[in-house]
């Protein structure tokens, strides 16, 4: 079938198999490979993207179901000025990753979590990331990063920036 899916603000049209999964659409049709396919069974969360602004596991969504909708992947988080998203900066500053395989999905889940709850408790962050598995970090630095990004959001409202506060460059990825 023919689908037209907004991917990071760009309309991607393609004739695809009815059974094509969104994860494969993003990687192989749109050519964006930040979204990793880990377990392929709705368990690990590595393939998490935003669908109309909400986190979903793209291995368990058909491209056909996303037809006419907006998908955001990790590549789409940076601002128009190239500035990293607060969650990306916080993952770097707090060392919220080791091997990096779960990271794009973890970041997207965190972005969705903070959109719904801008000021979460640590317990709410841990519960909010229950759909994403990390086999390296033990989660502590990931949770710290999400909490830091939440503080950053509040500081930004007050005119400050998390990265600047720590002397970190705000360069593009």
């Amino acid at each position: 079938m023919k689908v037209a899916i907004g991917v990071n603000g760009t309309r991607v049209e393609a004739e695809v198999e009815d059974r094509l999964l969104l994860a494969y659409f993003v990687r192989e049709v749109a050519g964006l490979t930040a979204t990793n396919i880990g377990c392929d069974t709705t368990s690990c969360g590595a393939c998490t993207v935003l669908l109309d602004g909400e986190s979903v596991k793209s291995c368990t969504v058909l491209a056909a179901q996303a037809d006419g909708r907006e998908v955001t992947t990790c590549e789409g988080l940076a601002g128009a000025d190239g500035q990293w998203h607060a969650v990306q900066r916080a993952f770097r500053a707090e060392h919220g990753l080791q091997c990096g395989f779960c990271t794009p999905g973890m970041v997207m889940a965190a972005v969705s979590l903070l959109a719904e709850n801008p000021d979460p408790t640590e317990a709410q962050v841990r519960a909010g990331l229950e759909g994403n598995l990390c086999r390296c970090t033990g989660y502590h630095n990931i949770v710290r990063a999400v909490l830091a990004a939440a503080r950053d959001g509040q500081q930004r409202d007050a005119g400050a920036r998390y990265g600047q506060a720590r002397g970190l460059p705000g360069e593009a990825p």
């Binding site: 059974r19 368990t60 969504v61 058909l62 037809d67 889940a109 969705s112």
Partner: protein, 272 residues
């Protein structure tokens, strides 16, 4: 993992969904959020030839106060059930249990109707609607009918839905007894319950204690006869037939059912 080939059809209205199902006949299958069905299709346990996407039937996404009962559209997502202020006030058991389904990503896609129509005894919500004495409203080619939740779950992944019938609404009476609890025992946060227990007043639903979702009849009889929580909970495994699998042995599930029912009844009593 890739599902077997199928033809995708998208319904824009309930009538269109019924027509598409009639055209597809035995080869058709409705899909709401797809969070249970797509994983089964990827494992080739489900191989529909025509997949009818009802995920955009926004007319079936609502939570309404109808006076004596709450009406919930079948396409209401777990996320929306979890965060409904009306449900938090009137049916906190359902709102809480919806927040225990899968993980946030699954709850952004999965729907209450999809979960019930899937008929999985290991899912959380079937046991919850049993404990809440829900009535399920379905529509088919010849009109609407109502099915009591107690009559809905008929076998392993089987329901009372006739071919082509569509679950449209879940009606839940406002509970006379307010005390509630939901206990879910898992190894990992995202797993299905090894055993789960839903309590509303004197009604007790069991998750994953047999091939169909069920009420804990022995516990309910004991409660009705005046037994306390601990004594009543001792009957939690009566009449059940849990499976032995990688998650747990049948004997361990029976033990868990008694322990979790005891906790659930105590918590429900504290909320009365």
């Amino acid at each position: 993992m890739i599902p077997a080939p199928f033809t995708y059809r998208r319904a824009g209205t309930v009538e269109e969904a019924l027509d598409l199902a009639a055209d597809a006949g035995d080869d058709g299958k409705y899909m709401a959020g797809g969070q249970s069905l797509l994983p089964l299709m990827k494992l080739r346990f489900a191989v529909p030839e025509v997949l009818i996407d009802i995920g955009r039937l926004t007319e079936l996404s609502y939570v309404r106060d109808e006076g004596s009962h709450i009406a919930i559209g079948a396409l209401t997502r777990h996320h929306d059930v979890e965060h409904s202020g009306l449900l938090a006030a009137e049916l906190p058991l359902l709102a809480h249990a919806a927040g225990c389904v899968g993980d946030p990503q699954v709850r952004h896609r999965g729907t209450i109707g999809g979960s019930l129509a899937h008929g999985d005894a290991a899912s959380d919500l079937p046991a919850v609607v049993l404990a809440l004495d829900a009535t399920l409203v379905v529509r088919g080619p010849s009109g609407s009918r109502e099915i009591a939740a107690a009559e809905f779950f008929s076998g392993l992944f089987e329901t009372a839905l006739d071919p082509g019938e569509l679950l449209t609404e879940i009606r839940i009476p406002k509970p006379a007894q307010r005390g509630w609890s939901f206990q879910k025992f898992t190894k990992r946060a995202i797993d299905w319950a090894i055993v789960g227990v839903a309590v509303q007043g004197g009604h007790v639903g069991l998750v994953n204690m047999g091939s169909v979702p069920m009420r804990a009849a022995g516990v309910e009889r004991a409660l009705a006869a005046g037994a306390g929580p601990a004594d009543a909970a001792a009957h939690a495994a009566d009449g059940t037939s849990p499976a032995s699998d990688l998650g747990a042995s049948a004997a361990y599930r029976e033990h868990l059912a008694r322990v979790l029912t005891g906790r659930a009844l105590a918590e429900a009593a504290s909320r009365n």
